[in-house]
């Protein structure tokens, strides 16, 4: 089974801090994704990466950046955390090739910015 592991289940940080969320997958997937999940808004794509060192903005990239130095690891960075970035963050991975590959999700990081 595909395993997508997010480094923290819960994280509390202060406004203005630089925050790193880490995600690792063990199935050699080319694609990796970062979403945020808010009640009533579903999952919204922040960034995605289709290869090492490659990244594309999703629907809500403002205030975030990403890093993919190795194929298995995709990091989400909040450059200067703000309270409106309090949310559940989900990482996912999928194989490349075709449009119907399933996305495999981690269990999420619930981030609170105080």
């Amino acid at each position: 089974d595909v395993k997508v592991t997010q480094s923290s289940r819960y994280l509390v940080k202060r406004t203005g801090e630089k925050v790193f969320l880490e995600c690792v997958q063990d199935m050699d997937h080319e694609n990796m994704f970062w979403y945020r999940q808010d009640p009533g808004l579903g999952l919204r794509l922040i960034y995605f990466s289709y290869d090492v060192k490659m990244k594309e903005k999703g629907d809500i990239p403002e205030g975030y950046s990403v890093s993919r130095e190795k194929k298995e690891r995709f990091s989400l960075i909040l450059e200067s955390a703000s309270t409106n970035q309090t949310s559940m963050y989900l990482c996912a991975s999928s194989l490349a090739g075709g449009y119907n590959q399933p996305q495999h999700f981690g269990d999420g990081t619930r981030l609170s910015i105080l």
Partner: protein, 110 residues
């Protein structure tokens, strides 16, 4: 950004009842995926529908893709408490990305 609307937002039913969840867009989908997310976990893929008019069954769950490929439905027969969760539809936009709907939160009580 393409919009994907799900209805209802919330559903609270008794064990044994039937229910239907809808997913609609003004755009044509190339394909659509349904996921279920249980509390404390990430979403897990239930099914992918690709062809207009397609019907897929997964035990008590029946998934339908509209003929025009702009809508989809999920019907659960004789719901059980284990069906409780957040149901998400995801529209394939090409480029191997999905646009997700707002979700339907289902609670099935014994």
């Amino acid at each position: 950004t393409q919009l994907l609307e799900q209805s209802p937002q919330f559903l609270s039913i008794q064990e044994g009842e039937n229910l239907t969840v809808y997913c609609n867009s003004s755009s044509v989908f190339s394909s659509l995926q349904w996921y279920r997310q249980e509390p404390g976990e990430g979403p897990v893929l239930l099914v992918t529908v690709v062809t207009g008019g397609e019907v897929k069954k997964l035990k008590r769950l029946t998934f339908q893709f509209g003929d025009a490929r702009k809508d989809s439905s999920l019907h659960i027969t004789a719901a059980q408490p284990g069906d409780t969760g957040l149901y998400l539809c995801g529209m394939n936009t090409g480029f191997q990305k999905l646009v997700f709907g707002t979700g339907t939160r289902l609670l099935v009580s014994p």
